[in-house]
Each structure stands twice: as structure tokens, then as C-alpha cells.
């Protein structure tokens, strides 16, 4: 079982206007591709996470404001947690996840260090 955990944060450019919504046939293809990826890399998938809602809060010792940071050029869309032996392996698995590396979007991968 891979020993390290990696947090994968998906980002896309803000103001990235929605492309044409996928047709039912396209959705079916995406569904199949995602399931195939899940099956292939099931040993590497620790937590499929999910999308992050648009609103939120930003909290600091000064108080709390509405978030996220409005000046952020990039919007964090979602996250997942992968297990891998090393960063290269985690990156390899993440890269093949359908929908993650669509045009205008990218994934940041950070090892979660555990004592």
C-alpha cells in the first residue's frame, strides 16, 4: 500500500467562461472514463474529495470576513487525496484523471507530511 498521501488541489482561471455544456452522450463518455480511471488507480485513491462551493469564509485572528479572497485570479474548484510512493507517481495518477486537466485548469499536488 503506498505510504505517502498527497493533497491535490484543482484550480482554474477565474472568468473562464463556461464552454458549451456537454451533451448527454458526452456526459456518458466522461462518466465511463472517470470510472475507468478510478478502477485503474484504486490503490492510489485515498479520498475522491469533491468540488468546492463558491462561497465561504476567511478566518484569521482579526475576525472573519466573507471569502474566498476576491483578488484571487485562480479559483480553487475541488480537491482529492491520493496515495503514492512518491510525488512523481502521485502526479502521474492525477494527470490521467479525466476532467482535471481540462484546458484552463490545473492541479497542484502537495505531500501531506505525517509525523
Amino acid at each position: 500500500m503506498p505510504s505517502k498521501k498527497y493533497l491535490c488541489i484543482q484550480r482554474s482561471q477565474s472568468g473562464n467562461c463556461e464552454h458549451e455544456p456537454p451533451s448527454p452522450a458526452q456526459m456518458e463518455a466522461m462518466y465511463a472514463k472517470f470510472n475507468a480511471w478510478k478502477e485503474q488507480f484504486q490503490d492510489n485513491i485515498s479520498d475522491l474529495g469533491g468540488r468546492l462551493a463558491a462561497g465561504g469564509k476567511v478566518v484569521s485572528s482579526d475576525g472573519a470576513t466573507d471569502g474566498p479572497f476576491v483578488e484571487a485570479k485562480e479559483i480553487i474548484g475541488g480537491y482529492m487525496i491520493l496515495s503514492a510512493e512518491n510525488l512523481e507517481e502521485a502526479a502521474d495518477v492525477a494527470r490521467q484523471c479525466p476532467g482535471v486537466t481540462a484546458p484552463g485548469s490545473q492541479v497542484e499536488i502537495r505531500e501531506i507530511s505525517t509525523p
Binding site: 498521501k5 455544456p21 456518458e28 466522461m30 478510478k38 484504486q42
Partner: protein, 441 residues
């Protein structure tokens, strides 16, 4: 052996979400659910809200894509989708109309078991919403050219772009025809729930025409990839079989149409060779024919042989049945094929039918008899310029020994061929027709 330690998804139980044994969704699930849900919700909310209905269904499918890939498929995917789409629609309509008359009739659905099929089954009435929608679009007010587009979009779940690819139209053209259909339907206020058996009986011929057209686009199209063509044929058959399950559709014409669609479809895989080229009927490997589907076709053919009306679908089914019955090209009962073409020409006179009869006559009684069918026949401009007309003439003249005529028709056929695959086929079929005076190769 425990799977991934951290496989916690909120709200899920301890079932293994990544089990390989998880049942797959049936093929075309997303597209067919789109059609089903649009039909059900349109009946509930009314056709004037069709755009809102389609948006609500689209959003529900997107949510399914996002949620099911992460949290796994629900036990009852169709019920899940209905609940989400229904709630989407209600909240959208609530925003649009404060008077909320619709809300009072259709409160948000919270339990998955609230089924959409609470229809009283009155004899002679259409109980299936998808079928109702098919009859609704076969409305005199909707132009003929718009009806199949509406059906492909609303019932079959194809996008504008997918329709344009399949029918060789521009997206703008498809969109225009779709818009026209939608606005005519909105204006004419014939709701799916209001269709009477008389309405349906009157529209049945138009329903047959749409299904035949969709099937033909799939079957005869020589330009597009096989899976796309096959899909169109399958859609036409699917809707036809839905029609045949309801009393209103149980007529000899429906069965004849289903016979010809199934019989043609059963032979489709044999029409292409391994490299994707087209094969002539006599070249096709009959072992590749789908025998089960052929039996289905013959079954429908038998059921169509009732009553005293003989439609064009009967004639066409008869022709393809003769081809299917024959163990080989040589054993085809060409006299019967010619009979069917004669009947077809009587019901639906057409230059193409006459041309096909000439071909069948040549197989039955020799090339001179075939040419005699065409003797004195002036085909209309479009047919006269087509590669098929030239090819048929070239072949018949060659077999009669008229080498110069054969050669000139051959050249015309090759020039008019619409695709390289057809050109290759023609070269093969019309070989040995070069005029004796041409220089040696």
C-alpha cells in the same frame, strides 16, 4: 483486504464504492434518461415550459455525473434523476412565476419512490410519456423537416451539434428547424396529456415517416462512421418498438416498418469489409448477419400480414426479407423481389424504385430485360446526375455487350461518386468496361 484507508465520503455507508462488481449503467443511459425525463416533466409542466424542462434535466444529469463518480451510483439511478430534475424544475418555475399554481399541483419530490408513472391506463390512450411526446411533435403545424430534428433532440437526447453531424446539416440549420418546431408547438397548445386516441390515429402516418426517415439516415448514409449510423438505426427501432407496445401503434404498417428496420439492421455489419470499405451484396459474408435480429424482423413481418392494406413499408419489408431468406446471392428469389418493387411503384411511384426494379429484373431475367425497364424512361435531373444511375446503366450495358455505352456510363459514375469508398466499390464492380479503342494500360 481493506481498501484505501481514507476512503471516507460523507453520507456514504461502509459499502465498497470501488468494487469492480458494481453494476454498470445500461448503454446510452444518459441520452435515454434525457428523453424520458423531458417527456415526463413536459407533460407535467406543459409544453410552454419545454426550455425550462430541458435545462432542469441537463442540470440533473450534470449533477449525476459529478456526484456518482465520487460517491458511487445510487441504487435507483432513474428515480434519483427524476427527483433532482423535478426539484430543479420546480425551483426554476417558482422563480419565474410567483403565482405558483404549478407548485401547488406538483410539490417538490423528496422520496425516490415517488414514481413518474402515475398514469391511468385507459384503453386506446397513450400511457407512456415518451410515446406521447413522439405523437405531439407529429403535428401538422410543425413543418415536416423540423419534426425529425425535434424528435432527435427531445426524445433521443442528441445535441444540436450531434444532429448536424448525423444529418449533414449545418448547426445553424438544425437550430433553426428546432426553434421552429418548438415555437409551433408552444403556439398550438396541444399538450401531451391532452392527446386523444383520434389525434394519435391521425398522426400515426407522420410518426411512421419520422421513424423511417431517422432509420434511413442511419442505414444509407455512406459518409459517416459506422457506430454513428448504427446508433441512428437503433434509435428508430427503439422508438418503433415502443410504439408497437401500445394499442395505438399496433397496426400492420407499424409491424411492417419494424420488420424492414430489423431486417436491414441485421445485415449492417456485413456491409463493410475489415478495412472499412463497402462491400457489394454478393460479396458480403452472410455468416456475419445477426440471425437473432433477423428472426425478430421475420416475426414482425408475419404480424404485419393482416388486414387489407398494403403499405410501402410492406413492400420494402418484402424486398429485404427476400434478401435475408436467401442463403446466397445466387439463390435470391429475384422474381419475388421484382413483384415487391412493382407493388412499391404502384403505392409510391418513384424513379429510384423503378431503377431498383430494373436491377432486380436483370438478375431475374437477364440484362436485356433490365434495360427494357429503363427504356424510354427519363429520370429527373437529380437522379440522372447521380452515380447510382450511371453505375446501373454501366453495369447493364456491359452485361449486354454494349461496351462503349458501358464505358461512358462508368466514367460518369466514377466522376459522380461522393466518397473514395464508393469510388473504390465502383471500380471493382464496373471493371472490364474500358472501350476497345482505349490505349493499352
Amino acid at each position: 483486504m481493506p481498501r484505501g484507508h481514507g476512503a471516507r465520503i460523507a453520507g456514504r455507508d461502509s459499502r465498497d464504492k470501488y468494487a469492480l462488481s458494481a453494476p454498470e449503467l445500461v448503454e446510452n443511459f444518459f441520452r435515454h434518461e434525457y428523453g424520458r425525463l423531458v417527456a415526463v416533466l413536459s407533460r407535467q409542466a406543459g409544453l410552454r415550459h419545454l426550455a425550462a424542462v430541458e435545462d432542469a434535466v441537463q442540470s440533473a444529469l450534470m449533477k449525476a455525473l459529478q456526484t456518482w463518480t465520487i460517491a458511487g451510483r445510487p441504487d435507483q439511478p432513474s428515480a434519483w434523476l427524476y427527483r433532482v430534475a423535478h426539484n430543479n424544475l420546480v425551483s426554476e418555475l417558482r422563480q419565474r412565476d410567483a403565482r405558483t399554481q404549478i407548485l401547488q399541483r406538483y410539490p417538490p419530490v423528496t422520496t425516490p419512490s415517488a414514481g413518474p408513472n402515475a398514469n391511468s391506463l385507459m384503453p386506446g390512450e397513450v400511457s407512456d410519456d415518451l410515446l406521447r411526446m413522439l405523437f405531439v411533435c407529429c403535428n401538422d403545424a410543425v413543418p415536416d423537416e423540423s419534426q425529425p430534428i425535434f424528435a432527435l433532440k427531445t426524445l433521443c437526447g442528441f445535441s444540436v451539434r450531434e444532429i448536424s453531424l448525423r444529418l449533414f446539416l449545418t448547426e445553424a440549420n438544425v437550430y433553426k428547424r428546432l426553434t421552429r418546431a418548438r415555437s409551433r408547438l408552444r403556439d398550438h397548445q396541444i399538450e401531451p396529456g391532452e392527446l386523444t386516441p383520434e389525434d394519435c390515429a391521425a398522426r400515426l402516418p407522420a410518426v411512421h415517416r419520422i421513424l423511417y426517415l431517422i432509420f434511413t439516415e442511419g442505414h444509407l448514409s455512406a459518409h459517416v462512421q459506422f457506430p454513428i449510423r448504427r446508433e441512428l438505426c437503433d434509435e428508430a427501432i427503439r422508438l418503433g418498438e415502443l410504439l408497437a407496445r401500445h394499442e395505438i401503434g399496433q397496426t400492420p404498417e407499424t409491424y411492417a416498418l419494424l420488420a424492414l428496420m430489423n431486417l436491414h439492421s441485421a445485415r449492417m455489419t456485413a456491409r463493410e469489409c475489415a478495412t472499412g470499405g463497402l462491400l457489394l451484396l454478393e460479396e458480403q459474408d452472410r455468416a456475419l448477419w445477426n440471425r437473432n435480429q433477423m428472426m425478430t424482423g421475420f416475426d414482425f413481418l408475419a404480424r404485419s400480414a393482416t388486414g387489407d392494406c398494403f403499405s410501402r413499408y410492406h413492400a420494402e419489408a418484402g424486398i429485404v426479407a427476400e434478401h435475408c431468406r436467401a442463403e446466397s446471392f445466387a439463390e435470391t428469389r429475384w422474381d419475388r423481389v421484382v413483384d415487391c418493387y412493382l407493388l412499391l411503384e404502384r403505392i409510391q411511384p418513384s424513379p429510384i424504385h423503378r431503377m431498383n426494379r430494373a436491377v432486380a429484373t436483370a438478375e431475374w431475367q437477364g440484362p436485356e430485360a433490365g434495360l427494357a425497364v429503363l427504356h424510354g424512361f427519363e429520370p429527373p435531373g437529380r437522379l440522372a446526375e447521380s452515380y447510382l444511375w450511371a453505375a446501373v446503366n454501366s453495369d447493364l450495358h456491359r452485361r449486354c455487350g454494349n461496351r462503349e455505352k458501358a464505358a461512358s456510363y462508368r466514367e460518369a459514375a466514377l466522376n459522380a461518386a461522393p466518397s473514395p469508398a464508393i469510388q473504390t466499390l465502383l471500380r471493382r464492380r464496373l471493371a472490364n468496361t474500358s472501350a476497345p479503342s482505349s490505349s493499352a494500360r
